[in-house]
Subunit: 311 residues, 2 copies
């Protein structure tokens, strides 16, 4: 796995060889604000999955997750709890990769766990902005965690959070406000649901309450995940998900391969010179990109008649 | 601006024409967890900047920001407060764009505001995972908001948050725990500072306390931002920042242009067929990308002797 992260070129053969063995795992995304108890819930879900005979892979995209080891004040006990069980595999994808790198690396990690026979894969990401959209791309089932709103501060529910949630969980349900938060979420789901198209058999997003630290309500979350698996299969949505995931991975692989080729043909010095010209306001990024691509074509001897950049 | 978002191809001319007029604005990134009071602080900072004679652009990348209008329960009053002042321009970049799209759109928004003479640009993003890294790429000065930790729950400070912070702000300093949170942050900065290289004149990250709702401590944050501007200029770091930002934008423009070209040469049907083959496990994404690129070369008549994909 470390090879996949550090040597994307050399590991392509491994990924290619593994690919036929993938597609069997159910991928569960768990997302929520920092402090909502994602890691604790993941550890609890893992234990229940294990009890039910599944092999569990965990990918922590959140750099603050104790699973990733990146937390400054993290409670590592939760992950230590599960260590030594060879039916459980942890992996952090908390790379500081550039544009799109995080997403591509996560997809590769998931594929490898899948190929190795882990049939339930939990992907933990901090739920905010772009990461949310990404988790929804990777996961079959997206579980969104909320914490009870004590009512003192207006908890701004992020726009789009209801759209990506397949299962809503109010964690830390021992805290005050759990009832009203769950009720508020249900009300918002009802409002949102009206605008949806009534054609296809709809999935009713359940709002569950857990106290992950005490292990309360976790079985119900696993039940809901398994219900969602069955729904995806029966409705044909699984196939749609797989297709759009394949498109995403293809696009990312194409962008990476095309960029690498341009760099190797044109040379890093010329790309650096173009960046310098952007800094000194001689040219803008889009125009500089067009010039570099045209230069690559000249070097590669592409006939100008077939030149379609301007199309 | 909407044109830049919705018609990236057609707007390239505008961006190219604007580029020579950019590079004058100081870009301030404001990041923090949901509920940390980012939007309120941005509104307060904007007012102080205006009092000091600056024109202020605001780009809200956070979809939950009231500036972006995407909040379900957001308090819009804060943004309405500033409406009607033509020295202030709001813009939401809360697009649901795919891979890297958010980042590229944000960069374009910033450039346009810059070219239009807004000399202080506040970019508000929810601080989590990848978004943080992105804001640090866009901003000259990154302000990280924290809320007081009442000590009841262990607030996991995200790894990497100290690395990207140029200014740390403990907002809602009227709440209990503000003192201890500020002290903890200072202690963590001291520990982190020891591992840094002692060569260059270092910037000492200030830890400030604000009550943005009441407008307390905001002047000090603006002072710290202006100090940081002076430091960046004097140390030569501004030029380094500009270069790495130009590299990022160039890479993103290259990836986008190369992908568009491949699509137009090879055709969408063939790309969709490749995605189908990935779903049915006939081929993996990396290999499929290689085949599509080879096919594009054949269609464009590129001599095979110049073929360097395998290099």
């Amino acid at each position: 796995m470390t090879q996949v992260e550090n040597d994307p070129q050399g590991s392509q053969e491994i990924l290619a060889a593994m690919h036929p063995h993938t597609g069997r795992a159910h991928i569960v995304g768990i997302t929520g604000s920092p402090g909502s108890g994602k890691s604790t819930l993941v550890a609890r879900l893992t234990r229940v999955f294990r009890e039910r005979g599944h092999r569990v892979g965990i990918v922590a995209v959140d750099p603050s997750s104790p699973f990733s080891g990146g937390a400054v004040l993290g409670d590592r006990i939760r992950s230590r709890d599960l260590a030594g069980d060879d039916g459980v595999f942890f992996r952090s994808a908390a790379s500081r990769a550039s544009l799109g790198g995080l997403s591509a690396a996560t997809a590769d990690h998931i594929s490898l766990l899948d190929a190795c026979g882990y049939d339930r894969i939990c992907v933990e990401t901090v739920g905010a902005g772009q990461s949310e959209v990404e988790i929804a791309q990777h996961a079959h089932t997206t579980v969104v965690l909320q914490v009870p709103d004590a009512g003192d501060h207006v908890q701004t529910l992020k726009a789009g959070i209801l759209e990506i949630a397949d299962i809503l969980v109010v964690n830390k349900s021992d805290l005050p406000g759990a009832d009203s938060t769950a009720a508020m979420l249900r009300a918002m789901l009802e409002v949102g649901g009206e605008s949806g198209d009534g054609e296809e058999a709809a999935w009713n997003v359940p709002v569950l309450r857990t106290d992950a630290r005490a292990g309360i309500g976790v079985d119900e979350v696993v039940d809901a995940i398994e219900d969602h698996v069955a729904y995806l299969r029966a409705s044909g949505r699984l196939r749609c998900q797989e297709f759009s995931r394949a498109e995403q991975r293809l696009e990312s692989a194409l962008a990476s391969a095309l960029l690498h080729r341009l760099l190797s043909v044109v040379g890093e010095a010329r790309v650096a010179a173009a960046a310098d010209a952007i800094v000194s306001r001689e040219i803008d990024a889009h125009s500089a990109a067009g010039e570099l691509i045209a230069h690559m074509d000249v070097l590669r001897g592409t006939p100008p008649t077939h030149h379609v950049t301007e199309a």
